[in-house]
Symmetry: C2
Subunit: 235 residues, 2 copies
DNA sequence: TATAATTTGTCCGTATGTATA
DNA sequence: TTATACATACGGACAAATTAT
């Protein structure tokens, strides 16, 4: 059962997406939302907080709650953890599996995933495509003690949906580290760039609620086409 | 007057920094904090929320509130908007001003800062150093209609502190966009790297509460030494 | 294994403060 | 100045997850 404030937040976001606030650029007031959804002020405020976090809404004390203008160039919002499939909505997402095997954890993996040496680990290396154009190169590791089974079919779809829907587990924390590096020959070929050109790297570490790491993923993006966005409120 | 939950959050963070929770890795319970600070449960929970956002604390339902292990390599936390000075604590921060002038906004600036053409704009180009070693190259623009005065002294210190303490204005939103690019000859020389090597770029757009942009800043970092971290809770 | 106690998560209601219009 | 609307803070009740018994 989904929490009420999350549910209401999603309802409001759907209304926003439908464009009903586009003209005024102003959402309903808290009191109006309270009546509309028959919830407490607390709940509405938590729902709005989520929209603020997602960079969608902007409450102004004494005035109202406004839409936040979208940025140009469509950078990847680091707050959006719903995966490529969701984020890229109307685009065609596919992937080519370059390698897939079960290996014992070496020192590097132990370090990255805080697991024991020789822990059985799925290694997945794939090229992800967007509208049939190379989009990013993934090197991903899954702790088999936590994710007991993976196969080609699962890998071809959304692994995160598999974890959520089939394993019934909840991903609670993701650390995302952004850096830059030079492209290897193989990576350059896959992305249609040249060796030693820059690459922008996103390293994701995914954890369950107690902080156990089930996945580490190193992704290489085309630096000419990819930016990452973090929106912050200091309030 | 600072909000109570922020104040309490800072007090708790100081206790964490002092190491008093290092042994158990477990903070006090909500009820214990309520007694200690004589505040409501709501206030304590908001204080803890801030610590969670900063990646410092990790509440576990039914169990307690735990310290979150620090990451290796000390990446720059994108949630930390307190500036270099705060973040790098015991290090020596300095800067070399490479250019500083008042210019009318051109089309590029208009686009980035959503201002009118020819708006008077301070342009600041500086090299920031950490322990006397080149750390990043900044190209920064300030809307003079919003930041009416800047001089060398202010620029040499923390501009953000000047805005907070002297102009008495509150920075409410910062959009941070991370990308990669190739270094220009000038940038490479300044950072001790070679032309066309990768650079990791952080573009900051800073806004006051109503969303008006007062600053756009393009920063070039040494890709060998700099990473950016985003910690996310899906809960 | 089952139950109770502990602890955080969600939700409600109310009152007051502060910024905006 | 007044009314509107969001921000802060308090209190209580119950649910859900974990831990101890």
């Amino acid at each position: 059962m989904e929490a009420k404030f999350k549910h209401v937040s999603n309802l409001i976001e759907k209304d926003i997406a439908s464009g009903i606030y586009d003209e005024t650029q102003k959402l309903l007031t808290e009191d109006e939302f309270i009546i509309k959804y028959k919830v407490s002020r607390n709940t509405i405020r938590r729902a709005i907080d989520l929209l603020v976090k997602r960079g969608v809404a902007l409450p102004v004390q004494g005035s109202g709650i406004y839409l936040r203008k979208k940025r140009l160039g469509q950078p990847i919002n680091l707050e959006n953890l719903r995966g490529l499939t969701y984020y890229l909505g109307d685009h065609n997402v596919s992937s080519v599996i370059l390698d897939f095997k079960l290996i014992p954890a070496d020192n590097k993996i132990v370090d990255l995933m805080h697991c024991e040496l020789d822990t059985p680990t799925y290694y997945v290396h794939r090229l992800r495509k967007l509208d049939n154009k190379p989009y990013c190169i993934e090197y991903s590791y899954y702790n088999k003690d936590l994710i007991p089974y993976l196969d080609n079919e699962i890998i071809n779809g959304s692994i995160y949906n598999y974890i959520r829907n089939d394993l019934k587990k909840t991903i609670n924390f993701i650390d995302e580290v952004i850096s830059a590096n030079v492209l290897t020959k193989e990576e350059a070929d896959l992305l249609g760039l040249k060796e030693n050109e820059p690459a922008i790297i996103c390293e994701n570490t995914s954890m369950f609620k107690t902080g156990t790491i089930f996945n580490y993923c190193y992704s290489v993006f085309n630096y000419k086409e990819t930016k990452f966005l973090k929106m912050t409120n200091t309030a």
